[in-house]
Amino acid sequence: MSDGHIIISEEQVAHVARLARLGLDADEQRRLTDQLNTILTYMEQLSEVPTEDVEPTAHVFDLVNVYRADETGRRAGGTSLASQEAALSNAPETEQHFFVVPRIVE
């Protein structure tokens, strides 16, 4: 148990778990809520750092405008294209070169 400081409620944890498609039982939900509160409380120390003069950052590199040319195929660099066979090779189930999943809609 953390020092009792509540930053995230058990309902919020349940909600996030549902969004992440995690099936938590009641015990896990309670335990994770405690642990998350401990972590978040620890992280709160960061809010003590004065940041008034710091630009908001969404990226660790001081880098902008990285592009690739609109070209297809291997020579365009950056990515190596997968063959259809390679693309499907990790799939538990395939059919006529489709990935097979449980039916999604009615």
């Binding site: 909600h15 969004l19 498609r21 969404a58 990226h59 660790v60 590199f61 880098l63 902008v64 405008n65 990285v66 592009y67 690739r68 040319a69 609109d70 070209e71 297809t72 195929g73 291997r74 365009a76 660099g77 950056g78 990515t79 190596s80 294209l81 997968a82 259809q84 693309a87 499907l88 059919e95 006529q96 070169h97 489709f98 990935f99 097979v100 999943v101 449980p102 039916r103 999604i104 809609v105 009615e106």
Partner: protein, 478 residues
């Protein structure tokens, strides 16, 4: 109570690039399922997306053409949700900082021009495509093809400025035309390169506050857009008149039944937890690039319509019809260049040409009759070599066979009869063959002139020069 309908459209346009938004896979879909994929668009671990510069260029072109503002600094965000055709578990999109802010599109409705404001235009990647159950094989399975995953889309979000289903349709049609002129999207709604969602709400006439809205998805034709919104308006009106409230929800349009139905809540998780995409660095669009793109914007439909009226002296109606498609307007102008009588060209393009195109499901640039060929035909009429009537038959043959007008006229002996002695002889025979009508005409029944013209044309298999027939007939009937 009288209600006013408030509509905003979100349009997804597939950008005309060769490669996907963040990888070098091709964007063409004739391929076998999952044949145009790579570790990046398959969402395999450890890969990095790299932004396609042309996708940014095309979005800039669209935004600037519609008077939007280019955000000098903008970035990508992750939109998180689970669906089997989204292998990463998130879609790379733009959220707080779209590439283009604002802008507008003028539409013509009931003869007046209305300005529809745009909220934003942003870039994002498409998801894959699923085929469900027995449409492919097992009714209990879905089948996923990731060829489309990562294809660049531009989302154009209008302000809630539209007030009727018809306005929404006109807006979408105009948008499609403009995107075609800009050469940024092929506008094919059936194949999904242009998709539309509609946000619809009602409010009492005279009030400003927006009512609760529903979002209708799956609108894949102009007709569906208009029908779905009209249905949804009536449905919401019914809800409100019963004293109930409209539920904010996503609905799907069932085109076969003409109704909108709520999407099952299971597929709906409107909690996307957007956050900045750490795998992509921010964009800072240089002013020089913006200026270069601005210079590259072609003449747009409104300007072209005005020019068709002022430069070619076309009626507004003709100009409207011709500029509705860039390919059609190009065809018209190419023909006028070779045969500089714009109204005659316009009549043929909007009439016989358009009819053949529609029958054959051709685009103007696919037609077997090129502008050069059409101009040749029009010259034959102009020089009096063939009659306008015969020209219509010749045109059909040209379209069917791909042959030139001159060849068809020569092969079928269709040259117009303009020899006055020969024509006089034919007319004399016609008059001699119809003594009763002749007597009636001379007794004052002058509208029989048309009868004699018809008989003369018939006797010459339509080849007689109609102007000469008229003159000669009047002489001989005196």
């Amino acid at each position: 109570m009288d209600y006013e309908c408030v509509i905003g459209l979100e349009v997804h346009a597939q950008l005309l690039t060769y490669s996907k938004l963040f990888c070098s896979c091709a964007t063409t879909f004739q391929a076998d399922p999952n044949d145009q994929t790579c570790p990046v668009c398959l969402g395999l671990p450890g890969v990095l997306p790299v932004l396609n510069r042309q996708a940014v260029e095309l979005t800039l072109r669209t935004g600037l053409a519609m008077q939007g503002t280019v955000a000098t600094s903008n970035r990508f965000a992750r939109k998180n949700y689970f669906y089997p055709d989204l292998p990463k578990g998130y879609q790379i999109s733009q959220f707080e900082e779209p590439l283009i802010e604002g802008g507008c599109l003028n539409i013509e409705i009931d003869g007046t021009t209305r300005q529809v404001c745009l909220n934003r235009i942003h870039l994002e990647e498409d998801a894959g495509k699923s085929i469900h159950g027995e449409n492919l094989a097992d009714p209990n399975k879905s089948y996923v093809d990731l060829n489309r995953t990562g294809v660049p889309l531009m989302e154009i979000v209008s302000a809630p400025d539209l007030r009727s289903p018809a306005e929404a349709r006109v807006y979408l049609q105009k948008l499609k035309t403009v995107l075609e002129y800009l050469d940024v999207c092929d506008g094919n709604m059936e194949e999904g390169s242009l998709r539309c969602d509609a946000n619809v709400s009602l409010r009492p006439v005279g009030t400003e506050t927006l009512g609760t809205r529903t979002e209708i998805k799956n609108l894949n034709s102009f007709r569906n857009v208009q029908q779905a919104i009209a249905y949804e308006m009536e449905r919401q009106r019914g809800v409100l008149e019963n004293g109930a409230s409209v539920v904010q929800e996503t609905r799907l349009f069932d085109a076969a039944r003409g109704v909108t139905l709520p999407m099952r809540s299971k597929e709906e998780a409107h909690d996307y937890r957007y956050f900045p995409e750490p795998d992509l660095v921010p964009l800072q669009i240089e002013p020089e690039w913006i200026e270069r793109v601005r210079q590259s914007i072609p003449e747009l439909p409104d300007a072209r319509r005005q020019r068709f009226v002022s430069q070619y002296g076309l009626p507004a109606y003709d100009a409207d019809v011709l500029v509705a498609s860039r390919a059609m307007a190009d065809y018209f102008e190419a023909t006028v260049e070779l045969f500089p009588q714009p109204k005659i060209v316009s009549n043929w393009v909007m009439g016989d040409f358009l009819r053949e195109l529609n029958q054959a499901h051709h685009r103007p640039d696919e037609a077997p009759v090129s502008p050069t060929r059409l101009a040749e035909l029009l010259r034959l009429i102009d020089e009096g070599t063939i009659s306008g009537k015969i020209a219509k038959t010749v045109f059909e043959d040209m379209y069917r066979t791909g042959k030139g007008a001159g060849d068809i006229v020569a092969e079928q002996g269709l040259v117009q009869m303009s020899d006055s002695d020969a024509l006089r002889e034919v007319i004399e025979q016609v008059l001699a063959g119809h003594p009763e009508q002749l007597a009636a005409y001379r007794a004052g029944k002058e509208k029989l002139l048309g009868f004699f013209v018809g008989q003369t044309m018939k006797a010459t298999q339509g080849k007689a020069n109609p102007a000469m027939v008229n003159t000669l007939l009047r002489q001989l009937l005196q």
